[in-house]
């Protein structure tokens, strides 16, 4: 009995590694596309962060460096969340396009191993890309940090990843249910999540109903915690007010994400939408 359990666990871990391996191959094969996309993100981030300098040039008084850091963190978290969502959602859409989707779903790979494998890859790749983006833009604009706590910011980003992966699982089900519109709906979900989370502005400037939604968005706490760590040097204990909601949301989001995906998979198997498209 113990041997069976060990064998099953071993198979799950090998399958989990297979998902990470596959996505690594894909990134390697599309390396120039990835580089182009990275440069586009750098340009996009620069246009956002330059807003602070533009406001100062318009005659308004503000702490430009601080505002640039606030905008930079917003743009970088947007990019990170976008990547996690894209890998979770687009992989299903991509598999449908390539025609491999049926082979993945008929393999003896549990859905948690499948989806968590995609999430693990998304977080690994996302962190590398985010650090590169943050560092490059900060250097290009000459942003200086007076008292940053990078370790604390990393802990907040790591904690937020669980809930981002969980929500990514929920959006990943959309291409299963709606082959034509699913992936686009995922982008809408990502946009809605960030607009209520104070991505470039404080949450309290939004209408009350949006502020209410912001309290259940992990991006709200991720942005607040990372800004506290990098702008004010807050330690892990000082950002615990953002950490614990992130951990609670993560603990809830992953099982909910798995359950939603399972329900979507069952729907797709019932209605015959789990097949090649394109």
């Amino acid at each position: 009995m113990r041997g069976e359990t060990t064998g099953a666990l071993r198979r799950e871990l090998v399958g989990f590694a297979g998902i990470v391996e596959r996505n690594t191959y894909l990134i390697r094969r599309f390396v120039w596309w990835e580089l182009a996309w990275f440069l586009y993100t750098v340009a996009n981030t620069l246009t956002i962060v330059f807003i602070a300098k533009g406001v100062e040039a318009g005659g308004y008084r503000l702490d430009v460096n601080r505002e640039m850091i606030i905008l930079l963190i917003g743009a970088v978290v947007w990019s990170y969340l976008g990547l996690v969502f894209e890998i979770e959602t687009e992989t299903v859409a991509w598999e449908r396009w390539e025609g491999t989707i049926e082979y993945t779903f008929m393999a003896p790979l549990s859905r948690p191993a499948h989806l968590l494998g995609m999430g693990a890859f998304a977080v690994l790749y996302g962190v590398i890309r985010t650090v590169a983006l943050f560092g490059l833009v900060a250097v290009m604009l000459g942003v200086h940090f007076t008292n940053p706590n990078f370790a604390s910011a990393t802990v907040v980003l790591a904690a937020s990843s669980f809930s981002f992966v969980g929500i990514g699982m929920i959006t990943a089900v959309l291409p299963l249910i709606s082959p034509e519109k699913g992936a686009q709906l995922g982008f809408i979900a990502q946009g809605l999540l960030l607009v209520v989370s104070g991505v470039y502005y404080p949450v309290d400037v939004m209408p009350g109903w949006m502020q209410a939604i912001a309290t259940i968005s992990p991006a709200t706490y991720a942005l607040h915690g990372i800004r506290g760590a990098l702008l004010d040097g807050q330690s892990v204990s000082q950002v615990s007010g953002d950490l614990w909601p992130l951990l609670v949301l993560g603990v809830v989001a992953i099982p909910v994400g798995l359950a939603v995906f399972r329900a979507g998979e069952r729907y797709a198997k019932r209605h015959g939408s789990l097949k090649r498209n394109g």
């Binding site: 071993r10 198979r11 090998v14 399958g15 590694a17 297979g18 998902i19 391996e21 596959r22 191959y25 894909l26 094969r29 599309f30 390539e98 025609g99 491999t100 049926e102 082979y103 993945t104 779903f105 008929m106 393999a107 003896p108 790979l109 549990s110 069952r266 198997k269 019932r270 209605h271 015959g272 789990l274 097949k275 090649r276």
Partner: protein
């Protein structure tokens, strides 16, 4: 990793299976289709039966071909058996295991080769085989030796192992598809029109590989095709599936006798009342 002929099938629970490889009983599957416009309030939803009370068994080690036109229900049958579709009624078992109740157990026993090779086209054969083998629990140490060995067996040139799939011919891609299935040592192999669209030489090579798999691996094969010659050459028994109904299932000779036909094609026409030319014409007018 290759399993020698004569092995026993041991499903979860540890007992050696004496069940048929495939046991399908009164299997039903319907799809909902919408007619006309998809605008609000327009277009009528209707139920289209894909499989109507289909019953048959396939014995262990047997090769059964299911003949049918496009839309006859062949692919639906393969998808139900490979756990990709949930059926609406009846039952389907693979080595005694219910496909809907215990899909993971079935998935460990089954693999499939379909009409489209279905790979990540920018990735190489090595990469495609490698990651997909992980889903069946094969470690990098196992695939390091198993992949070159299987590619050699299917006659794939070793120097092309690193090339993107999109640079390979359809015949080559289909050989990789067979290698992918072989790599996981399936005891039930579902072949859904594996040679459709291949040139004559590639077709013969793929058919020879299928024969070889059966000979060397004690593999049970369910072949869905509309190629009568292929069915006659590869299969022990031949079934005719028409509009979701299994009209006949017997040896090729007995199917011919049953319909008083000289060829399997004539028997098919007598059974369905249609020829493949009719079907082609219907598609043109559709």
């Amino acid at each position: 990793m290759l399993v020698p002929a004569g092995r026993s099938i041991v499903p979860p629970g540890g007992r050696v299976s004496i069940e048929p490889a495939v046991e399908v009983c009164d299997l039903r599957k319907e799809f909902i289709r919408r007619d006309g416009s998809r605008m609000r309030g327009q277009g009528r939803r209707r139920r289209v039966p894909a499989l109507r009370d289909v019953s048959f068994t396939v014995d262990r080690g047997e090769c059964v071909a299911i003949l049918g036109q496009n839309g006859s229900g062949k692919s639906t049958l393969v998808r139900v058996l490979s756990t990709l579709l949930l059926h609406d009624g009846g039952s389907a078992r693979v080595f005694g295991i219910d496909v809907a109740a215990k899909p993971r157990a079935v998935q460990r026993l089954v693999n499939r080769v379909s009409v489209e090779a279905s790979f990540f086209k920018r990735m190489s054969p090595d990469e495609n085989l490698s990651y997909s083998a992980r889903f069946y629990g094969l470690t990098p140490r196992q695939t390091r030796t198993a992949i070159p060995e299987i590619l050699r067996r299917v006659g794939f040139p070793p120097e092309r192992r690193g090339e993107p799939m999109e640079d390979l011919s359809r015949g080559m891609q289909q050989k990789i598809a067979l290698a992918r299935a072989l790599l996981t040592s399936p005891v039930l192999l579902l072949l859904d029109e594996p040679t459709t669209g291949l040139d004559p030489r590639s077709k013969i090579e793929v058919q020879e590989l299928v024969r070889d798999m059966r000979r060397r691996h004690d593999c049970t094969i369910l072949l869905c095709t509309h190629d009568m010659t292929e069915a006659e050459v590869l299969a022990d028994r031949v079934g005719i599936l028409h509009e979701g109904v299994l009209l006949a299932l017997d040896t090729p000779a007995e199917v011919r006798d049953r319909y008083g036909a000289e060829t399997l094609e004539d028997a098919f026409m007598a059974a369905t009342g249609r020829s493949f030319e009719d079907e082609a014409e219907a598609e043109v007018h559709a």
